[in-house]
């Protein structure tokens, strides 16, 4: 007699539409979404979470979440939207935003920084793929020095100035309870990132303060690399600019 037990697969909180939604080969927005869905499931937050999708290729994750959701919301403004929801619905509701790097730390700078300063009890997830994926691979605030994009055809240089380390910056604000950066370039990193995501959500559950997780995420077509090479590029190039780890982790803000 054989027993067949499901080990893992598509998270329960991910909806499957009749036709698979288009995505680029090797795009890691799906993986970032997967980690969040898994953690929401493990923390049993499916019933009381609202997912706010910024404009990014990852907006799809809002549509595909078996959660109350809205998106794409106005570019960069998800933290404002989430803040209002949290204030109105109270502690019992978990508010998460899913944003791209361009969304969160270019046009969204004010929205993000101010939410952190206010100690807003929401969790912001930022998929950092070092470019504007959705619009076709332009420079983002996170684009590495020397990196070529469609708007830095010669590579980013002093004309454009320096990349922004979002997780470290957010960690500077007094209202931030948690800030970390993960990647999904190996099973070990997958698990580590999952831990960050879980801790971030726990800060919200425990009503401590603002929480933030940045996740490095491959964008093969815009990086002009095969998917597997993208993961190598993250390990070799991106992580030296964007070190993985926790930058703030407080039990209480005072």
């Amino acid at each position: 007699m054989t027993e067949r037990r499901r080990i893992t697969g598509t998270p329960k909180l991910k909806i499957e539409l009749p036709v698979p939604v288009g995505a680029c080969q090797g795009c890691q927005h799906g993986s970032v979404g997967r980690i969040i869905w898994e953690v929401l499931e493990e923390l049993e937050l499916g019933e009381n979470t609202i997912w706010i999708g910024g404009v990014t290729c990852g907006t799809m994750n809002a549509f595909l979440s078996d959660l109350d959701a809205v998106g794409p919301v106005p570019h960069g403004r998800a933290p404002d939207i989430g803040s209002a929801m949290k204030r109105l619905l109270g502690k019992e509701t978990i508010i998460i935003t899913y944003q791209g790097d361009g969304d969160a730390i270019a046009i969204g700078t004010e929205s993000l920084i101010q939410a952190a300063a206010r100690a807003e009890r929401i969790t912001v997830f930022m998929a950092n793929n070092a470019n504007y994926g959705t619009t076709g691979g332009q420079m983002a605030p996170t684009t590495l020095m020397e990196q070529r994009t469609t708007t830095t055809p010669q590579g980013r240089g002093m004309v454009e100035g320096f990349p922004i380390n979002t997780a470290e910056l957010v960690a500077q604000l007094r209202g931030t309870a948690y800030s970390a950066r993960g990647a999904i370039t190996s099973p070990a990193n997958y698990q580590r990132t999952k831990k960050y995501v879980k801790k971030a959500l726990q800060k919200q559950i425990d009503d401590i303060g603002f929480s933030f997780v940045e996740i490095l995420s491959a964008c093969p077509p815009n990086w002009g690399k095969k998917p597997v090479d993208c993961l190598k590029w993250i390990d070799d190039e991106m992580i030296s600019q964007y070190p993985l780890g926790e930058f703030r982790d407080l039990e209480s803000l005072n």
Partner: protein, 181 residues
Amino acid sequence: MSSERFEVIFAGVGGMGALTAGQLLAEAALAYYPCVTWYPNITTARRNAPADCIVIYSKEVIASPLIHRVGAAVIIESSQLRTFEDRVKPGGLVIVETAGLKDHVSRRDITVKKIPGLETALRLGNSRAANLLMLGAYIGSTNTLPPELIEEKLEDRFSKNKKVLEINLRAFHEGIRLGHN
């Protein structure tokens, strides 16, 4: 090649296959036709959504680059047949990829050519050349432009990658051959 005006849709899914084929045709047509338009219909191309383009080349001013019914449609992705067969004028031509082809053309007033583009391209060395094979089939079927003009454009575009160029040229020629039949 005597007529005054030609209209063709290239339809595919994702990537730039259909769009590139149409663009090559349009660029090549410029040498012969004073008026050429290329109109892309891309939804969210980077993410594997349908994408098509309309190429019009004409001796006379082209009022609208966008028209619903055209003289010919080249269906690079067989799943798009249903959407596009209606857009061909009576008497027009549909060239369709056979790989994955499930639908039938129900209309009787158009000519249909089924071309094993993907399979042939794969055989020639790269499935990505299927779009050029289909372009060749269109040229072979319609004779609306001398193939050399398109070859030139191909050479310009892939000048940096001789291998890709070669496969593309081979696919294009094979397409012409299949189109002639």
